[in-house]
């Protein structure tokens, strides 16, 4: 593929060369101008009506008495013509007050790129003027030196000298030049950007430099090369032993988006790390609020039991929102090593599970990745492979195929009319989702005996110990953590 070399200056200018570069100080903000690669020493902005030359702001120099006082432009490519600016003294003073102009070439060997300052190019002395001309704005004009018009970047530096208590005010700088600084590269001169696939994202920043439809790869949860977990108690609507290891599923989403931050693909890696239950379940997840029409295809699901019906795009059929079923039979993705449970009893060996790799391809109109981050990803357990029996995170409604008939029975205290789901009468859940790989309790160990700050977190409404699941000193009883 032919590489595309874009002069960042041209890119920055939208492809149209700028014949005249101006500075009117109307931003009123030295930080804004510095962010755009101007430099100021002992020069600020004034909006005092008696000092402003035109508009709302003018520049003002201060701090005489031998101090260095200057303004430097950004790097510019200079053309034929004159530099013009308006200047005046704030008040009358002695005869030795004025401005000097120099130019600075780019020197790649210098840390800030500034080479040796040229000789004096122009000077103007207010002292030679008769009052009141010194406090009347004077239009200064001088030609760009021939040496500066060499197609290379130069800065112009204007220095000021005046009485200790006086100021020199300037405005309306106009320079026959093109802006050639890169504010995002330490204000060095602009350089060519390599963009092999012409998607507007520089190759250095592009995770897919040769694919014009993809630019960025990010992970969810925030854990590159790591996973999050969802953990279930599976006896809903009855309470269980609260070891939250009846089913533990680890997951990682790899979000692939284009240069406009629209999601093109999500690849989900999921595996059943623990099964501390005697019941065999299925596992699914819903993208709440997302119409199935946004998704063009879903592949990679492991469906062996025949009770899941798919639509043409691989999503589950009969659903208002997008629902995917990574597996319908947890045993079909486990590699057990013996014992009644899978990876919950330390007296038995550690088994493995197949990683189920789901690829979700999004179709037009593409969603912004911000939607995926903020939207409700709703993982759920399919209890006993009975499609109607879903177990969800607290206050998450079942999918269209989940039953409402067991709400309010057993230990369940759901109230769908109030948006309350899958909670007991004292507000306890049957599932938890974590942004890290969950170190769950060993078989039959109560959560509170494993994670010692969990109670404080829950009872404080999440204020205390939001990091309760981390392996920090004093955070867990290791004996009860698998």
């Amino acid at each position: 593929m032919k590489k595309s070399l874009l002069l960042s200056a041209v890119l920055a200018l939208g492809g149209v060369a700028q014949a005249q570069f101006t500075q009117t100080f109307e931003s009123g903000s030295r930080p804004v101008e510095v962010a755009n690669c101007w430099s100021f020493r002992n020069v600020g902005f004034t909006n005092t009506s008696s000092e402003v030359i035109t508009g709302t702001y003018s520049s003002e120099s201060y701090g005489g008495n031998g101090n260095s006082i200057f303004v430097k432009t950004p790097w510019l490519i200079w053309n034929n013509g004159n530099v013009t600016l308006d200047a005046r003294l704030r008040s009358l003073g002695n005869d030795n007050q004025g401005v000097n102009v120099y130019f600075i070439p780019f020197d790649n060997g210098q840390p800030n790129g500034e080479g040796a300052v040229s000789g004096l190019v122009y000077t103007y002395n207010f002292g030679a003027q008769a009052a009141p001309n010194v406090i009347t704005p004077q239009n200064l004009s001088f030609a760009v030196p021939a040496a500066v018009k060499n197609g290379q970047p130069w800065k112009m530096m204007i220095t000021f000298y005046m009485d200790n208590t006086n100021e020199i005010l300037t405005d309306n700088w106009s320079m026959p030049a093109t802006y050639y600084s890169d504010p995002l590269n330490s204000c060095l001169p602009s350089t060519a950007i390599l963009d092999a696939d012409n998607d507007g994202v520089a190759d250095n920043d592009d995770d897919f430099p040769n694919d014009p439809n993809l630019a960025y790869l990010t992970y969810y949860p925030v854990n590159a090369a790591g996973f999050g977990s969802v953990a279930y108690e599976d006896l809903w609507p009855a309470k269980g032993d609260f070891d939250f290891n009846d089913l533990v599923v680890d997951y990682q989403l790899q979000v692939k988006s284009d240069a406009q931050s629209r999601v093109r693909f999500v690849e989900a890696d999921l595996y059943a790390r623990a099964v501390g239950a005697g019941i065999n379940h299925g596992f699914g997840f819903e993208i709440d609020g997302m119409s199935p029409g946004f998704i063009s295809s879903v592949t990679g699901q492991v469906l062996t039991d025949g009770y899941i019906t798919l639509a043409g795009n691989g999503l589950e059929a009969g659903q208002t929102n997008a629902v995917m079923i990574p597996w319908d039979n947890t045993e079909s993705v486990l590699n057990r090593v013996g014992g009644p449970f899978h990876n919950t009893d330390p007296n038995f060996g550690t088994g493995t599970a197949d990683t189920v790799h789901i690829v979700i391809a999004f179709g037009s109109p593409y969603i912004a990745d911000a939607y995926l981050y903020s939207t409700a990803l709703k993982p759920f357990l399919i209890k006993g492979r009975n499609r109607m029996m879903e177990v969800h995170l607290p206050d998450r409604a079942p999918t269209d195929l989940g039953t409402f008939n067991l709400f309010g029975t057993g230990d369940d205290d759901s109230n769908p009319g109030a948006g309350r789901y899958y909670k007991t009468s004292n507000n306890l859940p049957w599932a938890l989702a974590l942004p890290v790989k969950f170190d769950y309790p060993v078989e039959k160990a109560d959560m509170l005996t494993a994670h010692l700050n969990f109670a404080a977190w829950a009872q404080s409404g999440g204020v205390m110990f939001p990091d309760w699941f981390l392996n920090l000193p004093g955070y867990r009883n290791a004996t009860n953590v698998y």
Partner: protein, 131 residues
């Protein structure tokens, strides 16, 4: 001497009463079992937080655009997108609840920003000082 013993004993009782823990009903004690937790009905059990990131635009003389990258302090990428320097923009994302600091990189600029009340204010304006 008998009187002194009674005074000491009385002082011990008084001091013991003062040091006894008071259960004020606001901070419940930690139960031994999960099912005995006292949890507010509105607690959502989330281990994540919804964060809004407000990026301050800086006016530029020409359009300037590059990739803005948001990571955690370990450098793990949370968000990447093209950002125009002059645009003021808000992003929404879901992060682990225990993350308090984000790192924002934009070109050669890189700074840490604190998450405060679910919001991050990002600005790359330099300090107002002489160069």
């Amino acid at each position: 001497m008998k009187t002194s013993i009674y005074v000491v004993a009385l002082a011990a009782v008084v001091l013991g009463a003062c040091s006894k823990e008071v259960n004020d009903g606001v901070n419940p004690t930690t139960p031994a079992r999960f099912e005995d937790l006292q949890v507010d009905a509105n607690f959502d059990w989330k281990t994540t937080q919804d964060v809004t990131i407000n990026i301050e635009g800086i006016p530029t003389p020409v359009p300037v655009q590059s990739t803005l990258v948001i990571t955690d302090v370990q450098g793990r990428a949370i968000h990447k997108a093209l950002h125009t320097m002059s645009e003021t923009e808000s992003l929404s994302m879901t992060l682990p609840a225990h993350i308090k600091t984000l790192v924002v990189k934009y070109g050669s600029n890189e700074k840490e920003f604190a998450i405060e009340n679910g919001t991050v204010q990002v600005s790359f304006l330099p300090a107002d000082q002489d160069q």
